[in-house]
């Protein structure tokens, strides 16, 4: 008892008698709640306007409900069919298909399932369109013979195997298509025929062009960052405008000016012809090809390289180089052995930044890239708005997103997102 009482006296209390610990805990909790409440609105906003759409896209890349929704009876009836036991599914499956097509033709959803299955096996789209017109005349059994009479493709076991395979709610076929593979009728993963293999090459081209653009940006950005860092502040601030003005100028303005400069009747070709370096007939094709993409994107992304490089170089004391030279190194050796190792952080930050931006670039390649200078993002856009194969667009986008996030984690390791500087 006496002991308990003495500890009571030792507890520090606030003016109103509550123990200090309790009171501090409460204050901490209150300020924590306040902080959370301040962040909450933006967090919820980003969640609904941005993260949910991204997850919706990820979901769409594996989602496969269109077959099950458009052919509900067939999907149910074909479940028990064993392709190994019999060539074609039993009569009730044909009957279910006839009824599904009748319903689908009436509410015009049958075209969608045809389009969906056509991604896997060409001819499916026309098969469903043709059957939707002919199926009206089928009144009663035998269903299989009448359906095969409308289109003999219905006698092809591969068609039925495909429908059975794609009747589940999820599919990996979009991802397979995105890396130039497909499922064979027997469910094995096989590579696409040679002429249809485009995406792996496109990914490689995107990575290669991004690497090249990053390298060019480093090559051009390093000297001017160094010059900006060693010049007196007044002069370097003035020269910095040359870097910041392009940075702040609209992307489309810069792309437009490169079109004006690089095209066949453009400024650069005119100068070359005027100086006699090339003949009027031999004007260089510098746009609507890879050259155009590389030149324009290097120009557009160069400031993203210069700014982090400059901010690192600015912190390197000039005395380092002087010390190295007074210890007997010639200027070149001093630069390579002393100065450059100090700029590695800036090189890493700038390179990853430029690389991340360039692998997802869309506008400039779309306008100046022609066919040889387009990147993976242009194909994502094509599948979104022209071919309407949203599943494939989502799968390509998800792969690109995974690459970018991996690079971003690397960037975070090297620089830290908190240290990101703007302007």
């Amino acid at each position: 008892m006496a002991e308990a009482a003495s500890t009571d006296y030792n507890v520090m209390t606030t003016a109103d008698g509550t123990p200090l610990k309790v009171s501090l805990d409460r204050a901490l909790r209150r300020s924590k709640t306040k902080a959370i409440l301040l962040v909450a609105p933006l967090f919820l906003f980003i969640l609904f306007s941005f993260l949910v759409p991204i997850f919706d896209m990820l979901f769409r890349s594996v989602e496969n409900q269109i077959v099950a929704n458009s052919l509900p009876l067939t999907v149910q009836a074909i479940e028990d069919w064993d392709p190994a036991a019999s060539d074609l599914p039993p009569e009730p499956v044909f009957q279910a298909m006839v009824e599904d097509i009748k319903v689908g033709a009436a509410n015009r959803t049958i075209g969608r399932v045809g389009t969906r299955l056509n991604y896997e096996l060409s001819g499916m789209s026309s098969l469903f369109r043709k059957s939707a017109r002919g199926v009206e005349d089928i009144e009663g059994p035998p269903y299989s013979e009448q359906l095969i009479e409308i289109d003999e493709d219905w006698a092809d076991p591969d068609v039925w195997k495909l429908i059975q395979r794609e009747s589940g709610p999820f599919t990996i076929s979009y991802y397979l298509a995105a890396v130039d593979y497909a499922l064979s009728p027997d469910g094995e993963i096989v590579s696409q025929p040679e002429y249809a293999q485009i995406y792996v090459n496109l990914f490689i081209r995107t990575l290669w062009l991004s690497l090249l653009i990053t390298g060019l940006c480093l090559l051009l950005g390093y000297p001017i960052s160094y010059l900006l860092a060693i010049l007196p502040t007044r002069t370097s601030n003035l020269l910095m405008i040359m870097v910041l003005l392009p940075f702040w100028t609209s992307l489309l303005v810069r792309t437009t000016s490169w079109i004006a400069l690089l095209q066949q009747e453009g400024v650069i070709n005119d100068i070359l012809v005027w100086t006699g370096l090339i003949s009027d007939g031999g004007r260089l094709a510098m746009i609507h090809n890879q050259t155009g993409t590389i030149i324009a994107m290097t120009h557009i992304l160069l400031p993203f390289m210069v700014l982090p490089l400059y901010s690192v170089m600015k912190t390197i004391p000039k005395s380092y180089m002087r010390a190295a030279m007074s210890l007997g190194a010639n200027p070149l050796l001093a630069f390579v052995r002393v100065y450059m190792p100090n700029t590695v952080a800036g090189i890493g930050a700038g390179s990853i930044l430029v690389f991340i931006i360039s692998i997802g670039y869309y506008i400039t390649p779309a306008l100046v890239g022609g066919t040889s200078g387009t990147l993976i993002s242009n194909f994502i856009a094509y599948h979104m708005s022209s071919s309407l194969n949203w599943g494939l667009a989502a799968a390509l986008g998800s792969i690109l997103l995974a690459v970018v996030l991996a690079l971003y984690l690397l960037y975070d390791k090297i620089v830290g997102i908190d240290n990101m500087k703007l302007g």
């Binding site: 901490l28 300020s31 924590k32 902080a35 959370i36 409440l37 301040l38 962040v39 909450a40 609105p41 933006l42 967090f43 906003f45 980003i46 306007s49 993260l51 759409p53 997850f55 919706d56 896209m57 051009l220 000297p223 001017i224 010059l227 040359m242 003005l245 392009p246 702040w248 100028t249 609209s250 489309l252 303005v253 810069r254 437009t256 000016s257 004006a260 095209q263 009747e265 400024v267 005119d270 120009h299 692998i359 997802g360 869309y362 506008i363 994502i380 979104m384 708005s385 986008g397 690109l400 997103l401 970018v404 996030l405 971003y408 997102i417 908190d418 990101m420 500087k421 703007l422 302007g423």
Partner: protein, 283 residues
């Protein structure tokens, strides 16, 4: 700044050739932007200098592309849309971003780094992926092709800049100032407006400018999430370049360059003011 007097011939040569190389790189950076301006006064519908222009013949120059820009209803609508969308999304982004930055900069905030990463993610994810996600999702909920959809999308893209700039301003923020204000009898609201806001204002304004330019210059989202009704200046330029490239685009580009010069000056002045206020540099 000439080379040091003790420099030998090799160093002298290198000193000057290095400056020449840098000069060429600066030329590469700035020339494509500068060249647009005289080209936009071309009297002919060409994208290059005509012989009349090179001989400074006044007949070679004309302001007709600017007149065309001013008289075109498409361009007028684009300017109007750009301004409306940019203003609304800037206001939203600045408000949400500043408030969140105030919370994020408190040391008691749990899971700070994770939340920061999530809030900044719209800036990291390539625009084409954001556009794809928003296009699919906004179509299902009926926001595709509406002003609201575009404004929400642009706000999401703009907030990371506000969060970053305001958080950066708050790094040097002396929290004893708010306690001092409370001590002197100011309630939290008064403290906020009289003490916190004036100190973080440079960060807020430069964040808002970033958000504004992000929306004003944005083209990928607008192509997919918007429709022809929401056409903005970049949308109009993009389709103009794709379909019928006319020198009107050069006139618009020149005006946009003028606009970015103004913005650049504003930001530079703000940055200097902010550094002076925080005592980081003498100005």
């Amino acid at each position: 700044m000439p080379p040091p007097i003790y420099a030998g011939p090799v160093e002298r040569t290198w000193y000057y050739s290095f400056r020449v190389i840098c000069g060429l790189i600066f030329f590469f950076l700035i020339a494509p932007i500068v060249v647009i301006i005289p080209l936009s006064f071309n009297a002919q519908p060409y994208f290059t200098f005509t012989p009349e222009m090179l001989s400074f013949d006044p007949a070679g120059y004309s302001t007709k592309w600017y007149k065309e820009f001013l008289n075109s209803t498409n361009w007028q609508q684009a300017v109007e849309n750009s301004i409306i969308i940019a203003i609304f999304s800037t206001i939203l982004a600045t408000f949400l971003g500043t408030v969140a930055a105030l919370g994020l900069s408190r040391s008691v905030m749990p899971y700070r780094t994770v939340i920061m990463a999530i809030l900044i993610s719209p800036m990291i994810v390539p625009l084409i992926i954001s556009a794809a996600g928003m296009y699919f999702f906004y179509s299902t909920i009926g926001l595709q092709g509406t002003y609201l959809g575009i404004i929400l999308a642009h706000t999401a893209l703009g907030t990371p800049f506000v969060v970053i700039t305001v958080t950066a301003t708050l790094v040097g923020f002396d929290h004893s100032l708010t306690r001092a204000a409370a001590n002197l009898g100011a309630d939290p609201v008064r403290t906020f407006f009289k003490v916190i806001v004036p100190l973080i204002l440079p960060g807020v304004i430069s964040g808002a400018l970033f958000a504004f330019i992000t929306s004003f210059d944005e083209v990928v989202i607008i192509i997919f999430v918007g429709s022809i009704e929401q056409r903005t200046i970049p949308w109009q330029m993009f389709s103009g370049i794709r379909e019928n490239i006319s020198p009107t685009i050069l006139a618009v580009a020149s005006l946009l360059i003028l606009f970015s010069v103004t913005l650049l000056t504003t930001i530079e002045l703000l940055r200097r003011r902010s550094e002076r206020l925080r005592g980081l540099s003498p100005g």
